[in-house]
Amino acid sequence: MSNHNHQDTASVTTGVNDASEGMSYLDGGIRKLIHVYLPLSIIMVVLIFPFYWMVLTSIKPDAQLINMDKFNPFWVVEPTFKHIQKLLFESEYPRWLWNTMYVSVVATALSLFASVFAAYALVRIRFKGAELVGAMIFLAYLVPPSILFIPLATIIQAYGLFDSPMALILVYPTILIPFSTWLLMGYFKTIPYELEECALIDGATRLQILVKIILPLAVPGLISASIFSLTLCWNEFIYALTFLSSTQNKTVPVAIVSEFVDGDIYRWGSLMAGALVGSLPLVILYSFFVEHYVSAMTGAVKE
């Protein structure tokens, strides 16, 4: 990999020489303001607004929701914690949150385990037909869950997993493995083969190489794969809706919708409070890992 970079730069530098005579650019404050801060703030505002709206709705008294002439909808007077309180103490929310976490974490761990081996085999063992198998994995995304769940339900039932978190733990990897495998394949490719070669000469087995050499170097890949996987599990709806039936087993997105939509009346405050509280664990996780995730990856490639 590193060789290529140098080659590329070489060609770039020669190619570019004539075209750009003295086009040096200043990193001046105003320039940065216009080129970085301004567009960044605009995008950030757009990205954050619906979330802000959810926060606002979750603490707004119901009467202010549809009275836009009297109350400025961008703000809230007399905020109420009624919705959040109702969510946390009068519903089984903590239980749902726990279910969601449990299912997500176990399904993610399972997927990563399977993906690490699969990716390693595809990239480094290069067995006969690896290319084909690699392509086959992505067939996983060919049919959307919105239809797949009916035939899948028959299988879940045949294995006796109905209304059990195990159903989701086993089904979610089908959405997670292909992505994680692909991601990890990319990382494994960036790890110099020389390292592995030396170990092989020293008589290490493939498993030892994978665990002792490859995995530590692939930590950033593992982190990004698990973050992605966790999020997908966290947000999944159809499987969670159809494979789990008892209230105490439900996951957050499903439970919130069935708990706070009464016929033709939406309990906006509680719905949004649920979305908010349900996202918090992930937000915290992300704020902790984002830096790690980005910078660790840099380290891996520099090797």
Binding site: V12, F74, A118, Y141, S146, P220, Y286
Partner: protein, 319 residues
């Protein structure tokens, strides 16, 4: 890389004593199969079989709670001159293409911005990820409220600024509804693309830019000839997944419009769901989702071979 390199270590092992275990662990095919096993078991058990069954259903007249009999291509024949079906095909392509392109452009732009020296770096990055984290159903419900025909905050603001006099009918007219949904999809999808591309950007060594800048490259040239080529592999991966997930999107549309107004926002996934689950015609719903397969295959092929070609172009045929 792998091909050439593996030869040597194997040769060195040949001199050592060979137990069965060792032989197996050195046989690439056996080892490869063993390593693939966990993934294969899960995927075959929970995916290959239902997928096959789904395709089979599309050739039957199965209803919910009743096994169908084989009817050949009848479901497909009915679909072939079904205006609503073709509308859903159009909608799906429109939705996927527009949303993916914009997601890519905005995501890349955002990644470049985030790659600058910024204060509160990690705070900004976590904020950027928020849309990706909120459960889709619930953010869809929030959007639905934001797009409400009477109580839209957007209409309200524009009205108060004196820019419009009537509320905008976000989800009521076909074009508005399509664009509103695409916007919500972009909102949800950009963060992941941006953060992943940002990770890719950080792998580009600053010395490359320095060298290029010394040689007089402009910002654009820096991007075009240094950044972009190095990012290509990660772009291909991210965009393939983005396209796949956009193409099969369901929750967002279902929560906001159910395919309305007048089927203008029905995607193949939502139409399939409506016909299979709500109307009970499993066979027909299965046919609609089976019809998605060629499109998805095409998307996968494009990026897969795009990826391969790129490697080759860079002189990476030894990989």
């Amino acid at each position: 890389m792998a091909h050439n390199a593996v030869g040597r270590p194997q040769a060195s092992f040949q001199r050592t004593e060979r137990s069965l275990m060792q032989r197996l662990s050195n046989d690439r095919n056996w080892l490869g199969a063993a390593f693939m096993l966990p993934a294969a078991v899960i995927l075959i058990m929970f995916l290959a079989y239902p997928l096959g069954k789904g395709v089979w259903l599309s050739f039957t007249d199965a209803k919910i709670g009743r096994d169908g009999v084989f009817i050949g291509l009848e479901n497909y024949e009915w679909l072939s001159d079904d205006k609503i079906f073709w509308l859903s095909v159009f909608n799906t392509l429109f939705y996927t293409v527009i949303a993916s392109v914009i997601k890519f452009l905005v995501g890349l732009y955002l990644a470049l911005l985030l790659n600058e020296k910024l204060p509160f770096k990690s705070l900004i990055r976590s904020i950027v990820l928020i849309p990706f984290v909120v459960p889709t159903v619930l953010s869809a419900i929030a959007f639905w409220w934001i797009y409400d025909s009477q109580f839209s905050i957007i209409s309200w603001s524009l009205k108060n600024m004196g820019l419009i006099t009537e509320n905008i009918d976000f989800l009521g007219s076909p074009d508005n509804a399509r664009l509103s949904l695409i916007f919500a999809n972009i909102w949800r999808g950009v963060p992941f693309i941006a953060i992943t591309l940002l990770a890719g950007l950080q792998t580009v060594s600053p010395s490359l830019y320095e060298a290029a800048t010394l040689d007089g490259a402009t910002r654009w040239q820096n991007f075009r000839f240094v950044t972009f080529p190095l990012l290509t592999p990660i772009i291909a991966v991210v965009m393939t997944f983005s396209v796949l997930f956009t193409f099969t999107d369901f929750q967002l549309v279902w929560a906001m419009t159910r395919g309305g107004p007048v089927n203008a926002t029905h995607l193949m996934a939502t139409l399939g769901y409506q016909r299979a689950i709500l109307a009970g015609n499993l066979g027909e719903g299965a046919a609609i989702s089976t019809a998605m397969i060629p499109f998805l295959l095409f998307a996968i092929m494009v990026s897969w071979f795009g990826l391969q070609r790129r490697k080759w172009q860079q002189g990476g045929s030894d990989e």
